[in-house]
Symmetry: C4
Subunit: 238 residues, 4 copies
């Protein structure tokens, strides 16, 4: 009798842990070193964001990739492995890379094909997290406005969700760069564009999607939602 009561209690505590992956992470974390805890926390956040972005239709068909810095010096990023279904993304599908894009730990798989672009954003902005989505609206508008080299979004309250923007009268310029399959060369162009426009909070790749970033993961997620929202408003206003 005592045994069954104890078994019930033990199992119930496991149950709570079993429900949320984040909870599980917390449990595991307690036993790990500080750097591991940072990595585990960010891999969990990346996996959760991937599933949400997939659900919203912003990362279908294994598209989209997400990274977050786990260390500044030496530079280390947690980044989604290449080719993963974001609707089932787990922390084990996130790996750790160094400043040259070489895997140094974390889950298995190869780093995302667009790793050099993430690193370019980190270099140009000192970003703590870089998020890339493929929504219908970003795909469509990055094509329509490619001739102008960018898309201006102005006068919306939602712009105040962008770091440093304190009024809706802000004019946000989203540069548009041509798509390429050679991101080792392309990354240099992206880095140059970002240095020319130090005020930009995001970047569109033509017929490809949105890149945005933030000092930390929370800020990057906020920028992502702000910009995807504004692209939808602009798209529906046509």
């Amino acid at each position: 009798m005592r045994r069954s009561a104890r078994a019930a209690k033990r199992l119930l505590s496991r149950l709570a842990a079993d429900s949320l992956r984040r909870e599980t992470l917390t449990t595991t974390r307690a036993k790990r070193s500080a750097p591991h805890r940072v990595y585990d926390e960010l891999a969990g956040r990346i996996a959760e964001l991937g599933r949400q972005a997939h659900q919203r239709g912003w990362a279908l068909g294994t598209s989209g990739n997400f990274s977050a810095g786990t260390s500044r010096d030496p530079l280390r990023l947690a980044i989604t492995a290449s080719g993963m279904d974001k609707g089932r993304l787990s922390p084990a599908q996130v790996l750790e890379i160094d400043g040259e894009g070489r895997p140094v730990g974390g889950g298995g798989g190869r780093p995302s094909a667009e790793t050099s672009l993430h690193l370019a954003v980190v270099r140009a902005r000192g970003a703590g997290a870089v998020l890339h989505t493929h929504s219908p609206w970003s795909t469509l508008l990055s094509d329509l406005h490619a001739g102008a080299g960018g898309l201006a979004i102005e006068g919306y309250e939602m712009l105040k969700g962008l770091d440093g923007v304190t009024t809706h009268e802000h004019r946000e310029w989203l540069p548009i760069v041509e798509n390429t399959q050679d991101w080792s060369a392309g990354a240099a162009e992206v880095e140059a564009v970002l240095r020319r426009r130090p005020d930009a909070h995001g970047l569109l790749i033509r017929r490809h999607g949105l890149y945005t970033w933030g000092r930390d993961f929370d800020e990057a997620v906020r920028h992502l939602e702000v910009l995807e929202f504004l692209l939808e408003v602009v798209g529906r206003s046509r």
Copy 2:
């Protein structure tokens, strides 16, 4: 008995239970006084609504804020803290303020930057709850119709979901006020607009979003869904 323990173990391991924040709240609540119970109940409803509104795309990027009266005299509101991600909104991110917008209890953080606007609605309408969303359709239509000073919605059955409306032949006028970053002054304008239009059930802030309210939380949520629905119909009918 060992059999029942094993059965318990087997069954438990199969469970993938979600630990509901509301359940936890219920437990905590049992030990609290009546005013606290009112506050806890409303903080829970606000958090739940925030997550739903985020899921529908009505409160992305930390936008949106929600309040509910916990006491009339003295006036006390439960209101979302500033800058919270609505997709993860918890009751602990709701705080209690007095009629001047000063925090008097509840969760941490600062009250929403638009607190004065919530208080203006409470003064002008005697509202028991005030809800503010940033949907694409309200953002887009509040801009298109700004020149006319408002948007008329007429002849829809859904209008009957608004308090006191008994026929679809009703004509609802949603005033549109210019956006501002000075809501201490702006709140006076909003209050004046609402007193001039005592029949209005909502209000649009240009390129910013919708405000609506109700005598209690349920009515406010109904008004929110009714108006967001109608804005979508009007937007898609263009």
Copy 3:
């Protein structure tokens, strides 16, 4: 030890409270008579459909109502109570009415204000279930095509989801009737329209929404999804 057993019990009760309403229903059902089991089953299905329709944006702001026949002779319907939030609809918010629309059992509340319309459909079609939704597309199209007295949908494979339709070459005519607030008179008109068009699987109320039905609940749900899908396709094709 007794404390740990009590703790387990307390935790389990909380988990159980979080469990599916349908499960609870099943348990309760075992002790009830056959007619009660039919009622309970249908009340559960109605509540589940309400929550789904709300999630899809087809029943916002307490709009929408759903009924299912629990007995032919005497006629008895399970029908949603008036004014309920469909996003939280529970079986207890469904009640049982007779052929005159008078409550005879089930949950509390008043029957839906459009009860006479449900009964008209049951009389004209011998329907076993009647479903009414307020989607943006049905609202919008019922207005655009009101002048023609109806909307023809033709040539789509999805039409084969309608009872008795065996080819996509089918032409479905959805009659449109003017909205009214006097459904005791309006119901007679609806019944007359349905008798004139014995081939129609649904009906639009102008600026109000869709009515559809089926021999049983499953067929009615299928008709609902088929017609809402087709209205979206027609709406987006404009």
Copy 4:
């Protein structure tokens, strides 16, 4: 004490009934032979995909059907039974057929009415999985472009999610075939079209929907999401 143990057991049984279908499957699987495990795994994946596609509005009203090869020689497919509600699709609503479309095992029901089409795709492509959805965009665009005999999608990054496509400069041609109710004849036409266009990754049936496939289930799901995404972008760009 015994009472609390019994109470625990009773509550647990109810909770367990509410547990995940996949869990149940896993448990059952442990006792089954290797071919059965392949079948069970694929039936589970098909059921899960059906529920997701329904949730996205790609398989409403019992539309859509999905298959996956369980054996090459002899040819065996797991395929959705005809007329099932995809929102509630369970592994028991998937059955196993041979190369002539005759049921040889698995769940109950008749194989999908479009079984011959699935088999045509398997013959023409050696596909390991065939997926068919009815989204609004595929329905609408398959009609608009029917005159041209197909729809070209070119220049999008998302195209790289298609097997063998290594650059966004790829031009994907989606053949459009007329809808028919005689799929024993129609299947031959589909097979001929696919053999003429060995580079196509999908196929539209006019006013009916999309067929796509992959070497295995994961690849087919990726192709489905890629093509549905691109159809939405093309549709919204009009």
